[in-house]
Amino acid sequence: MEITLNWYLALSAVLFTIGVMGVLFRRNVIVIFMSVELMLNAVNLTLVALSQSMGDVSGQILVFFVMSVAAAEAAVGLAIVIAIFRNKLTVDVSEINLFKY
């Protein structure tokens, strides 16, 4: 059998869903961040597979930019986590509800 484009798209759909489940289930904010990274990777896999099947390099350029923005997002997000932990001594998102009411 031959591995076609649809196998890659199905795999990235499964990985994206696992990332969604991580964001919805977990309460540790760092694990939620890691699930967001997993979702970004699933979308990157879709972009690379489509780019390679169509012979167009623009998808891989977009993956390059997504990786750069993910690095910036991880740096700023983890700095916010450190600042919150310094004030509230927790990373549980159900405890961080300052803006809830």
Partner: protein, 169 residues
């Protein structure tokens, strides 16, 4: 073009590592499962003949971002926190939402079956995936976004420093 054995091996290990990240109690082991998953995705990029993106994946994600995550986890000493999470109606609702997302994605995939070129041609993929082709596009057509992303990374670095400082000005 792709060996099916290699694809299925990488896919199974990637999904297993993602599930391990989802279900492990300790954040450090969560991060290590995610590193394994990122390596598998880099291998999948290599099976797609996208060498540049695969190497960048290992360098940036597994090398830089995950080290940052592990550094913060160990800095905050999270093992002292109670990590017990109970299964309640929120988890059930989250599972339903995630399954709805998966159903939508599978529906999109199934409805686009005829519209997409399914076979991936090896020589075409090898021509688009190497570093010189990407560099040619990146420094001519996408030169301005490339410069903007450099400024964005600088701003993110300074912002992270300002946020994580002990006494903000």
């Amino acid at each position: 073009m792709v060996t099916p054995f290699l694809f299925f091996l990488l896919a199974v290990v990637a999904v297993t590592a993602a599930l391990g990240m989802l279900f492990s109690r300790n954040p450090v082991s969560s991060a290590l499962w995610l590193v394994l998953n990122l390596f598998c995705i880099a291998g999948l990029y290599l099976t797609l003949n996208a060498e540049f993106i695969g190497i960048i994946q290992v360098l940036v994600y597994a090398g830089a971002i995950m080290v940052l995550f592990l550094f913060v986890i160990m800095l905050l000493n999270l093992s002292a926190l109670p990590t017990l999470e109970s299964l309640d109606w929120k988890a059930v609702a989250g599972f339903v939402v995630a399954m709805v997302v998966l159903a939508q994605l599978v529906y999109m995939l199934a409805s686009g079956l005829g519209a997409l070129p399914t076979t991936i041609l090896a020589e075409q993929a090898a021509a688009t995936g190497d570093a010189s082709t990407i560099a040619k596009e990146l420094f001519t057509r996408y030169a301005l976004p490339f410069e903007v992303i450099g400024v964005l990374l600088l701003v993110a670095t300074i912002g992270a420093l300002m946020l994580a400082k002990r006494k903000p000005i």
